[in-house]
Symmetry: C2
């Protein structure tokens, strides 16, 4: 699995929206500043996240974005897969891998499947609620240490 800037922005955006869940709308402008992303690029990412059903929006003055589900119902894996595609290191759609009569070539597939499964076991079991908790815990530590 490879994670591009787009995927990185998407994850950070969803986390930021999760931190504001059930509170206020978040404008693209504020979001872009906090996660340090170019606003016009982020807008496209947010549009994608809308199409994916993760995010809703309100237009016009005092508009903004919000999560369409509770953070506990969104996993990191869902976002990553939606933005980046399958987690497999290499796809078997390729010709060299598609004729599986030749065992000589297919020993590697099992490895990629194991890697893919191990990756999924991690990213599908982290919800944005978990991440919100981590951030809040970090903030408390900071508050105490001041």
């Amino acid at each position: 699995m490879k994670v591009t800037f787009k995927g990185d922005y998407a994850l950070k955006a969803v986390l930021d929206l999760a931190l504001h869940y059930n509170k206020e709308l978040v404008t693209g402008h504020d979001l872009a500043q906090r996660i340090d992303a170019p606003i016009k690029f982020l807008e496209q990412v947010l549009l994608d996240l809308k199409k994916g059903g993760f995010v809703e929006s309100r237009r016009g003055n005092i508009g903004g974005y919000l999560l369409s589900k509770a953070p506990v119902q969104i996993t990191v894996g869902e976002i990553i897969r939606f933005i980046e595609g399958p987690t497999e290191p290499i796809s078997c759609v390729r010709e060299s891998y598609s004729n599986c009569t030749d065992i000589h070539r297919c020993v590697f597939k099992k490895i990629w499947q194991r890697v893919s499964q191990a990756t999924s076991d991690i990213i599908d079991n982290v919800t944005f609620e978990d991440l919100v908790s981590q951030v809040n815990a970090g903030r408390q530590v900071l508050a105490y240490s001041i």
Copy 2:
């Protein structure tokens, strides 16, 4: 981790050489045919594998390639990392990840580290001897079923 054609070819090439280890040299031509790779592209990959110390070669008539170590001493992880680079889904060299004072941004790093570790646990524990065994086992099954 993403695996490109180059990495795919490299793995298949090393496996083929492992299947001929301590037997005969393998020419680039034969290798390219068996693993279905463009010969001129494969030659570059083999040169890289030479520089990495995985492969040796003999020039001239009746030349060819051979493994420089026993298959049991080469892991899939070594080859992949040498050809493709680090296994992390996303690198922390990026600016947005480099100022780790902001915890809000760093919650994802732990996830990528876990994915990276899980990947390593798999690919670093498969040697080409293991793969040779698998291929031979597959061949036996085929032989019996005929």
